[in-house]
């Protein structure tokens, strides 16, 4: 009965602890991955996950179903992670913007890595470019949207992404999976 999101939401709106636990069990694994991607350490990611789910349960009465439940929860997780990382956002435009088109990675490369390994690569990025890489590449924000959200210039967003891309390619390259065009 508790499997469907509809019942989960109904139960959580009544603050039923069983429903809350069931919702956490259903979505915690999916939501833990984005929490991890934005930080450097597991402890911090778990703090974000914890804070996010508390926000979810506190605000679920406001959830009207305009979007899917997992999408709504993920937005909360990402925003919580961004708030956690905001103090680390001392971002400056990078001067060495490389021609991104010259760096090409074969899609098959990714199948060689587990989710955990790929997320670890992202986690190992420096704070600033990790956040922008996540927002641009994974969440799908555009550079001008990132600029508005993080109150930085569009150029800074692009250069930080470029830096992240370079670093990630190096990491993938270390396993000889990257081909340069």
């Amino acid at each position: 009965m508790f499997d469907s999101d509809k019942f989960l939401i109904k139960g959580c709106k009544k603050s039923k602890s069983k429903a809350q636990e069931a919702l956490y069990a259903k979505y915690s694994k999916v939501m833990y991955a984005p929490a991890l991607r934005y930080v450097r350490g597991i402890q911090e990611a778990e703090d974000i996950l914890q804070e996010s789910f508390i926000k979810v349960f506190e605000n679920i009465k406001k959830f009207r179903g305009d979007s899917s439940l997992p999408y709504w929860i993920k937005r909360i997780v990402v925003n919580t992670a961004l708030n956690h990382q905001r103090s680390k956002l001392f971002l400056y435009p990078m001067v060495d913007i490389v021609n991104l088109d010259k760096l090409v990675v074969n899609e098959d490369v990714f199948s060689e890595f587990s989710h955990q390994e790929l997320i670890k690569m992202i986690m190992s990025l420096p704070d600033g470019c990790r956040i922008i890489f996540n927002m641009y590449a994974i969440e799908g924000y555009k550079h001008h949207e990132i600029a508005v959200k993080l109150k930085i210039s569009e150029g800074t967003s692009k250069s930080q992404y470029s830096r992240a891309k370079k670093l990630l390619i190096k990491m993938l390259e270390s396993k000889d999976h990257v081909k340069y065009g």
Binding site: S15, S17, Q20, E21, Y24, A25, S28, K29, V30, Y32, A33, L36, R37, I42, A45, E46, L49, Q50, F53, I54, F57, E58, Y71, K74, L100, D101, L103, V104, V105, E107, V109, F110, F113, H115, Q116, L118, I119, I122, F133, Y136, A137, I138, E139, G140, Y141, K142, K165, L168, I169
Partner: protein, 431 residues
């Protein structure tokens, strides 16, 4: 996350596809921390609701009180009948305590002869012996006012005139009401702010308290005490008996059952004893035998400092004794109370936040953390509404402040709780 446009560069798309569906399990402690936080929020939320209700009730009470005072000076308040025949103007003198008052279905008259002896207004002519009395009580149901003849008062001109009784509620000489008794039952709750304070943590160990003050492991590592009580809630049920004294004063006593629930935070040193894994498996009797021979020296001991949160439910039986003053005693009544509450500790239970099974139960004994008897003061405003002939519904916001710590002084910490609360119930008036 379908924000990705087709023109997004392949590198970003590859990454998105690679990690978007990723599922990784967080550690089990995350959920338990979330559950604890939700429990705490629930308590805090309830405490806020009680506080808010109390504040709203106080505002309503004050508004009613102010309004009733204002109405008292309004020349158009009150209900009584008077001849309009030239006498109405004299009512501008609001200090006059004249005319009938509809209380307990009686009309009260003062003699107007003296008042108007020197006035230009037509005098009321003594036509009836009833009017000759200085104070005459007329029964409404007997329609005695119709005995006035047409020369003195035209019956047709007897119309309701609204007059004033400034500070009437203080002029009790005009209010002839019998003191009465009532019995009531109230339900309610309040916030419980424990005002927890560590006063002598070192004594906790010897006193058998919750914590040792300072926790020392075998290597001599000290962990400082971290013990706290969070704001909780009280649930109350009360039966009471009350009486009015001299119209305006009230004495009320009762018996309350109070259930306090709060979250108690503490740290514990957990000692774990285990044996090396290389130890050969032995049957229990051999282990016992070896233990007796001193083989236990091979055991390893680990110490872990664990932060824990427990639900603490404390039960009290309380005897409130209140004195009050009635400001308004009509269909809507208002009185202010203050009094002393004697709290008898009945016991307390510790539970984990997510499991209702009691971890430990305490009763009244010398080892109990809590005093068997403690005292607190309570003040409140009681609003009543006459629902039926003898039955009132009541609503009372109140504030309670403990006069002393509810814990024993030698237990190493003190808790002098206070809180805002609301009680609601019904009251049966015997006469």
């Amino acid at each position: 996350m379908d924000r990705h446009s087709r023109d997004r560069e392949p590198f970003a798309n590859h990454w998105r596809k690679a990690v978007e569906e990723a599922e990784l399990a967080p550690s089990a402690s995350v959920w338990s921390l979330i559950a604890k936080s939700l429990d705490i929020l629930k308590y805090r939320h309830r405490a806020q609701i009680y506080g808010l209700l109390a504040a709203i009730a106080v505002l309503i009470t004050i508004s009613v009180s102010i309004q009733s005072q204002w109405l008292g000076t309004d020349p158009y308040s009150g209900n009584f009948y008077f001849s309009q025949n030239g006498v109405q103007n004299s009512l501008n003198d609001t200090s006059l305590l004249i005319g009938p008052r509809t209380a307990s279905d009686r009309l009260y008259f003062l003699d107007l002869k003296e008042k108007h002896a020197n006035s230009e207004h037509p005098k009321l002519v003594k036509k009836s012996s009833l009017l000759a009395m200085d104070k005459k009580i007329l029964r409404l149901d007997k329609k005695e006012y119709q005995l006035l003849d047409k020369n003195s008062v035209d019956k047709k001109t007897i119309i309701p005139i609204l007059a004033s009784y400034p500070m009437l509620f203080l002029k009790k000489s005009l209010i002839i009401k019998k003191d009465h008794l009532w019995a009531g039952i109230n339900f309610g709750g309040s916030s419980f702010n424990p005002n927890y304070e560590i006063i002598n943590a070192g004594n906790m160990l010897s006193a058998g308290g919750l914590n040792q003050g300072f926790l020392t492991d075998q290597e001599g590592t000290l962990t400082s005490l971290n013990e706290n009580m969070l704001v909780g809630i009280n649930r109350k049920i009360e039966v009471n008996l009350g009486m009015t004294i001299k119209d305006r004063f009230v004495l009320e006593g009762g018996l309350q059952y109070v259930q306090t629930e709060l979250v108690q935070q503490s740290n514990f040193m957990i000692e774990t004893i285990f044996y090396p894994t290389s130890r050969p498996v032995q049957n229990p009797s051999v282990i016992a035998e070896n233990m007796n021979k001193g083989v236990q020296k091979t055991q390893e001991i680990a110490y872990t400092n664990t932060e824990t949160e427990l639900k603490n439910r404390i039960d009290f039986a309380s005897v409130p004794l209140r004195a009050g003053f009635i400001f308004l005693d009509q269909r809507l009544s208002l009185r202010v109370n203050a009094g002393l509450v004697t709290n008898f500790y009945l016991g307390n239970i510790h539970r984990s936040l997510d499991d209702p099974t009691p971890l430990a139960e305490f009763t009244t004994s010398n080892n109990s953390l809590y005093r068997n008897i403690s005292f607190s003061g309570q003040t409140g405003m009681s609003l009543g509404y006459r629902l039926l002939q003898n039955i009132d519904v009541t609503f009372e916001p109140n504030y309670t402040q403990s006069f002393q710590s509810i814990t024993r002084s030698y237990m190493g910490f003190s808790s002098i709780p206070n809180g805002f609360g609301v009680m609601a119930g019904v009251r049966y008036n015997f006469n």
